[in-house]
Symmetry: C2
Subunit: 153 residues, 2 copies
DNA sequence: CCTTGACCTAAAGTTAGGTTGAGGTTGTAG
DNA sequence: CTACAACCTCAACCTAACTTTAGGTCAAGG
């Protein structure tokens, strides 16, 4: 039986979040979590770390790397339990990044919709479908659909 | 000079999408792309594959794996160039998956907002913050914040 | 024809994000 | 006070998603 204590064990945090103990230890090595240690050397997490771990999982679902998540979490205060305001700030910033990603997806859809009129989907030479080869010299990424096409069309 | 031909080389596809030649070859081994070969054994892609590769990149940005992307792309017709309708179907389905993910994020934010009233952020024993330990027995994932909390609160 | 850049395959190497295993220590229920 | 589950470290291993390397072939301009 787990008493209601200020801190929780790694096994408890694992049970509550569904994240393997080994993964939680790994997150510590990556500085995503900063548990204290008890006299015997065992990790003691804050209950607030349940939220922290959940955030990590959700962010991963959206394709964020550990490095990026660490950057987001760095916005939380060190030393004290994050308040609602602290988490809210992260939520807002995170939401903006997601919005940008969704805009990209929307661009793709709009592009498809806009393209139908010109017959380009029949794969002939089409300025919309094939927006000027000069676009080819601009670094990496899916340039056409990622919003870099302005000026080409 | 690249003439306007029915098919394009791997280098051209690489230039147009920003994806390395080695990655395009890899995508072929993973059955995301199905180029034909010319007499000399070189790959010949359709222009439509530019769109296909862009889709792969965008989906990856949202945390989809190659395997999941392959499943999505399987909705496109084999043998003929995808029409607007074909792509639109994928876009719609893809959008639904994203919506679900975003709902998860929204859950997290709502939960934070709803939690302020009960003082749970001070980390005492709080039913909202710590929604019944029975939640611990339901498989993996961030159960509390991922929408599994209905019934616990 | 010859050169040279783009292409080919196959196998090994790389990075992120973990898991597994060995060998030992801690903490708690009986 | 003893058993045993849960914890510890460190090193090796794993998968996904590529890149790099080695050793060659193809194709287009001069």
């Amino acid at each position: 039986m787990q008493k209601i204590e200020k801190t929780v064990s790694i096994g408890y945090l694992s049970d509550r979040t569904g994240v393997a103990v080994s993964a939680l230890r790994y997150y510590e090595t990556q500085n995503l979590l900063h548990p204290e240690r008890n006299a015997g050397g065992q990790r003691r997490f804050l209950r607030a770390d349940i939220r922290r771990v959940s955030f990590i999982l959700i962010a991963q679902q959206f394709g964020f790397t550990i490095e990026q998540i660490k950057t987001e979490l760095a916005r939380l205060p060190e030393g004290r339990t994050p308040t609602k305001k602290d988490w809210s700030k992260i939520g807002t910033h995170f939401g903006k990044i997601l919005d940008a990603k969704i805009t990209t997806l929307q661009n793709m859809r709009d592009n498809l919709d806009g393209c139908i009129g010109c017959g380009c989907l029949s794969l002939k030479s089409c300025a919309l479908y094939n927006p000027a080869d000069k676009a080819s010299k601009r670094g990496t990424g899916p340039r056409y659909l990622m919003g870099d096409q302005a000026g080409d069309i």
